[in-house]
């Protein structure tokens, strides 16, 4: 069984999960997607997410250390749901992140964050 797909399947098992993608946000490339409709949806999402992450990385105000620290996680909460972006640590020149869309009613943000962090850690073995 392919390992990236396993991780996305595990992400979709999180209560309230609607869609999960693995994105290279340095370039805006969706490496894998699960739960959504067509590939092109994942592609548009990947581009939007990548811009957001790159902007966050480029803003000194969003860093917590004088010399800048690395972005780990970004959560955007709306009235209908949450978006969790978990940045993976790998030595690839790609900047990878796991994106999970969570339903507001059925999802529990704290639980989802905890589970997604575990999945991200398991993916980034190198």
């Amino acid at each position: 069984m392919a390992a990236i797909e396993e991780s996305l399947a595990a992400a979709l098992d999180i209560p309230g999960a609607q869609a999960a993608t693995l994105v290279d946000f340095a370039v805006g490339l969706p490496l894998a997607a699960a739960g959504g409709d067509r590939f092109t949806d994942a592609a548009e999402d990947a581009e939007g997410l990548s811009e957001l992450l790159r902007t966050a990385l480029a803003s000194p105000v969003l860093s917590c250390a004088a010399t800048g620290d690395d972005l780990e996680e970004l959560t955007v909460s709306g009235t209908a749901g949450h978006h969790l972006l978990m940045v993976l640590t790998t030595p690839l020149d790609a900047r990878l992140c796991l994106h999970l869309r969570l339903d507001r009613e059925r999802g529990n943000l704290a639980l989802a964050r905890h589970r997604l962090r575990e999945i991200a850690r398991a993916l980034a073995v190198g």
């Binding site: 392919a2 390992a3 990236i4 396993e6 991780s7 693995l22 290279d24 340095a26 370039v27 805006g28 490339l29 490496l31 894998a32 590939f39 092109t40 592609a43 581009e47 811009e51 790159r54 990385l57 480029a58 000194p60 790998t90 030595p91 690839l92 020149d93 790609a94 900047r95 990878l96 993916l123 980034a124 073995v125 190198g126």
Partner: protein, 264 residues
């Protein structure tokens, strides 16, 4: 890209397995109609990405090649299956992007499944979409392609208060020697050529790297002062663009105003 896309579409319908040669430029490897791997003369190979970046030793790479599909976890350096899939996809998209402009007639030979066939793959529609998207991304970072294949020359003096760099941009500046091109740096560092090309365009846009002199009659794009590369309006490739006014940097204007006042 159109010719390549047509070939790939036909081969996808036939669920073909084999190699699509591109006249000495490189090749795409197909299994059951999907593209599992691509190699190009112009981009770092999967081996380069894994070994030159320090992720695997040469020995580790040999083990991976010897073991094939089942061996990933047994390789020294413990490359997980997921990680290999990620490297595979990233190398694939990089090679395909630089193979896309190739004018040679693609030639398919049916054959054995590539050793990477057990891991992951990409379909032709995805590849075509991604090539188009990357072209737009490069154009938005900096409209001129002159820096893509020219030696990367970091500037010696900065007229900025502070700079914002991605990790890759910093790595390129640190490893540049005024002679190596983005492509050569990519191979040396084990990075994708596209990633490095995009990073260099950003460096030129931020005035951190010298913009190569254009030929006679071609207009230079106007730089945007301040910050990481911003999305500019898309520019059609080929035609020289009319220069657009860069956005004003209020901090700089304020400083200038103070300095002029002191001179009075």
């Amino acid at each position: 890209m159109r010719r390549l896309r047509e070939h790939l579409r036909r081969l996808a319908d036939e669920r073909a397995t084999g190699t699509l040669h591109l006249d000495g430029q490189g090749a795409l490897y197909l299994a059951d109609g999907a593209v599992v791997h691509a190699e190009s003369r112009h981009t770092p190979s999967l081996r380069d990405l894994l070994v030159n970046s320090g992720r695997l030793s040469e020995h580790g790479w040999e083990c991976l090649r010897a073991g094939g599909a089942s061996a990933a976890l047994a390789v020294p350096g413990r490359l997980s299956r997921a990680e290999l899939q990620m490297y595979q996809l990233i190398a694939l998209f990089d090679a395909v992007y630089f193979l896309a402009p190739c004018r040679a007639e693609p030639r398919f030979t049916a054959g054995e499944r590539h050793w990477l066939a057990g891991f992951t793959a990409a379909d032709p529609a995805t590849l075509a979409h991604e090539v188009r998207r990357r072209r737009a991304l490069l154009g938005a970072a900096w409209p001129s392609p002159l820096a893509d294949d020219a030696p990367l020359e970091p500037v010696r003096r900065l007229h900025r208060q502070r700079v914002v760099l991605t990790g890759l941009q910093a790595e390129l500046l640190l490893n540049a020697d005024g002679r190596k091109t983005p492509s050569e740096l990519a191979r040396e560092l084990g990075r994708t050529r596209f990633g490095c090309t995009l990073a260099v365009r950003g460096l030129v846009a931020s005035a951190l790297a010298r913009a190569p002199e254009p030929e006679e009659g071609v207009r230079m794009p106007r730089r945007h002062p301040g910050g990481a590369p911003r999305r500019a309006l898309p520019v059609t490739s080929g035609a020289p663009s009319r220069p657009r006014w860069a956005e004003a940097d209020p901090g700089l204007l304020a400083l200038l105003q103070d300095a002029l006042r002191e001179l009075e």
